[in-house]
């Protein structure tokens, strides 16, 4: 069979090109173009509000890697990731295992309840949680004190030692429903006959789980970990509305740092979009690097 010339192929597919055009334009404008432009902006000394921009090469990057706040935020983002993802994966799995039982009559109700925070606006969650964890009669402290778990109110969000664990806890609460849904999807792929065969062989209890079910859901686990890990690096709305990175920058993750250097001017400093872009590019590359690493790991595991 001979192949048609390229020009004919393109002409024949003219409708296809027309159909991909609208979405491509939109994605080009708001995803692809910004990615390219942030590289360019990162080389400028530019406030973002005037036309004056000076090309300064890699100076912004140089300044970023020498800024203590930058590295603190960078590391904190990963602390946040390593502190929340394993908890979500394990807790989500346990809940999914229970709620996957058709025998449990109330399972659909529990699923709905656990999923509820997922659909609630994240900024609102952040604001409501500043009430819930308020040291002045907030419900969390009220509960702890009425049950005599603590004698004095805890300033969850005002103390640099407790603020990050509190925000992480809220993050897990907010998004656990999604992890649970992922696991439920994974568990539903375990075929009935595999299970029956295992039963006949006498595999019971934990052995059944370790030898039969875990290997089947493992490929899912890797995808879930990847999605969750990237998700845990994008926590701007929750932290901005709960603490805005405070107190004393103790909950400032990378996205808050970028936002602060780009837009927040209340300390009298000029906004610096160029510098913020440099921090953003550095951050984007780091995230991409992790994604690629995990992707490779995923492929290797799949081959086994």
């Amino acid at each position: 069979m001979h192949k048609k010339p390229l020009s004919k192929q393109i002409y024949d597919a003219r409708w296809c090109y027309l159909f991909v055009l609208p979405c491509s334009i939109l994605t080009g404008m708001f995803v692809i173009y910004p990615i390219g432009m942030s590289w360019y902006f990162s080389l400028l000394d530019w406030s973002g509000f005037t036309k004056e921009a000076k090309f300064i090469g890699l100076q912004n990057y140089y300044e970023a890697v020498n800024d203590k706040f930058f590295w603190d935020a960078f590391i904190r983002s990963f602390i946040f990731m390593f502190g929340t993802v394993p908890v979500k994966i394990v807790l989500g799995f346990i809940i999914a295992v229970f709620l996957n039982n058709q025998v449990l009559k109330l399972a659909p109700f529990f699923r709905t309840v656990i999923f509820m925070p997922v659909v609630t606006a994240i900024a609102i969650i952040g604001i409501v949680m500043t009430f819930v964890f308020s040291p002045f009669n907030g419900p969390a402290n009220k509960f702890l004190m009425s049950t005599n778990l603590t004698s004095a109110p805890i300033d969850f969000l005002g103390n640099p030692d407790t603020v990050l664990p509190t925000v992480m806890g809220v993050y897990v609460w907010k998004w656990l429903g999604i992890t649970m849904m992922y696991w439920l999807a994974a568990l539903q792929t375990v075929p009935q006959d595999v299970y029956d065969a295992a039963k006949i062989d006498g595999a019971e209890g934990y052995r059944l789980w370790i030898h039969i079910i875990l290997p089947i859901v493992l490929p899912f686990a890797i995808v879930i970990i990847l999605v969750e890990a990237v998700g845990a690096l994008n926590v701007f709305p929750l932290i901005e509305t709960m603490t805005a990175g405070g107190p004393f920058f103790s909950s400032e993750v990378m996205e808050i740092y970028i936002f602060r250097t780009a837009f927040v001017t209340d300390s009298g400093t000029m906004p610096r979009l160029g510098y913020a872009c440099a921090a953003g590019v550095f951050w984007g590359v780091a995230v991409l690097f992790i994604t690629v690493l995990q992707g490779l790991w995923m492929r290797r595991t799949r081959r086994i």
């Binding site: 024949d12 597919a13 409708w15 296809c16 090109y17 159909f19 991909v20 979405c23 939109l26 994605t27 404008m29 708001f30 995803v31 692809i32 910004p34 990615i35 432009m37 942030s38 902006f41 973002g48 229970f98 058709q102 449990l104 109330l106 109700f109 709905t112 656990i114 999923f115 925070p117 659909v119 609630t120 606006a121 900024a123 609102i124 969650i125 604001i127 009430f131 002045f136 009220k142 849904m181 439920l184 568990l187 375990v190 009935q192 299970y195 029956d196 209890g205 995808v223 690096l233 701007f236 901005e240 509305t241 996205e255 936002f259 979009l273 913020a276 951050w283 984007g284 995230v287 994604t291």
Partner: protein, 283 residues
Amino acid sequence: MSSYLNFIAEKNQVKYLIITIAFIIFSFFWIYPLLWVLSASFKTDFEIWGGLGLIPDRLVWENFERAWFGANMGRYFFNTLIITVVSVIIVVVTTGMFGYVIGRYSFPGKKILIGILISTIFIPQGYTIIPVFDLLNNLNISKNLIGLTLATAGHTPVIYILLFAGYFSRVPVELEEAAKMDGAGFVRTFISIMLPLTKPVVATVSILQVLHAWNDFLLPVVITLGNPDIRTLSVGVYAFKGEYFVDWSGMAAASVITILPIIILFLFMQKYFVEGVQGAVKG
């Protein structure tokens, strides 16, 4: 589907009861913060900080009045509604067309197009926000809802496209050939044969986009920095916190105005929410 993976034996009533009760207690604690804000929106400030009880002494509807008119939540509600509805329409039409072509046809450049798309899947929003802000300024659409709506529709569309493409690729070829025999062109086949078949995907994609548009924060907070008139609900409540810091009950009412519509939508269309979320790992 039979009851595989059931380690709770149907005969073991005690175990069953314990698990059910444990989950009921767990669910109550889980949902308590949401119930708390709902009840706070009907309480007086004094009552909010008075105790852990959830039932207000009397329903203080004035909280909602203050939030809706005084704090401008009414305006923000309609802003959010417009942005959400229009961006859903844009997203469904554009990704539906894209997914159709990707799922059913091959053409030169298809692989490159897919490759570029896939590479954008994990781009953090914090990475693109500054150029987006600059772009809307340059196009002179940063001061009205047009810019915000377009940018809300223009986030990475990979999951939507995969959902559409997967569905379209499973439609039997005979349907298309029959349409061609009847003399239907490319566009008519898509609109009158293909599109009606994909209602479940349209529903799932719409729900996902509603969730994204209604709850988004970083984009609207940046775009509306200098334009309070085009704030969305989330940004409005955040600004409320800054401006009327002591009006706790008003803030609770504003929060309820923001979250209740989506929760109601979720309760009625749960199936599509679940499908959308699970599509991300199944695909």
